[in-house]
Amino acid sequence: MFDIVSCPIDTGKVIKQVEHRNAGAIVTFIGTVREMTQDKKTLYLEYEAYEPMARGMLTNIGKEIEKKWPDTVTAIAHRIGHLEVGDIAVVIAVSSPHRSDAYEANRYAIERIKTLVPIWKKEHWEDGDMWIGNQEGTISYTDHQ
């Protein structure tokens, strides 16, 4: 239900993990590799994780959600390694009897991932590469341009 993987993520499989007879609503977030960030063109990305801790943090986020929105079921898969433009980096699926909970819990999950889970991306452009220092891509730590 909460995994860090090196292979392409199958969205359908993640959704299947949260389906059940009383889940009237399933909200899914798919994060893909975007080509343009501001005016820079991404060629590809590399994601690196502190894998056991990242897996543990995803599981914790799942537990937090279960507590805050009791009838929801959550599954999260985050890919690491080499990703091309358009590739799926993360899939979050939340099912719930009520759609409001599913939207809120899903949104909560991605915000938590972007602040807490030890995963880092390195953007590669035509003219260099850079480890991205926060989730909005506005802070950098080293710039090899």
């Binding site: 994060g31 994601y47 690196e48 994780a49 502190y50 056991p52 801790m53 990242a54 543990g56 985050h78 980096a89 993360v90 991605i110 991932i113 972007k114 602040t115 807490l116 889970v117 030890p118 995963i119 880092w120 991306k121 390195k122 480890w131 991205i132 220092g133 926060n134 989730q135 891509g137 802070i139 730590y141 080293t142």
Partner: protein, 76 residues
């Protein structure tokens, strides 16, 4: 012995994925100061995890622990 894990730009800066520190115990604050002095790492925005749990400056790192330097994350 304390095991230290490095990731992302910190790993590239130091040039290796892990280090060992031969100390019996130290606070997170002392650990950060050591990293700054010895490896010239800026730890200002770096979080510290002890055995895969986030720690605060006053937490104590003991022999046998695994400590990770966690720069601001960018997953998702």
């Amino acid at each position: 012995m304390i095991q230290v894990l490095l990731f992302a730009h910190l790993r590239e800066q130091v040039g290796c994925e892990n280090l060992t520190i031969h100390k019996k115990q130290m606070t997170v604050k002392e650990f950060k100061e050591l990293m700054e002095k010895q490896y010239k790492l800026s730890t200002q925005e770096v979080m510290i995890a002890i055995n895969e749990e986030y720690a605060t400056d006053s937490d104590v790192i003991a022999e046998g622990d695994t400590v990770a330097l966690i720069p601001p994350v960018s997953g998702g």
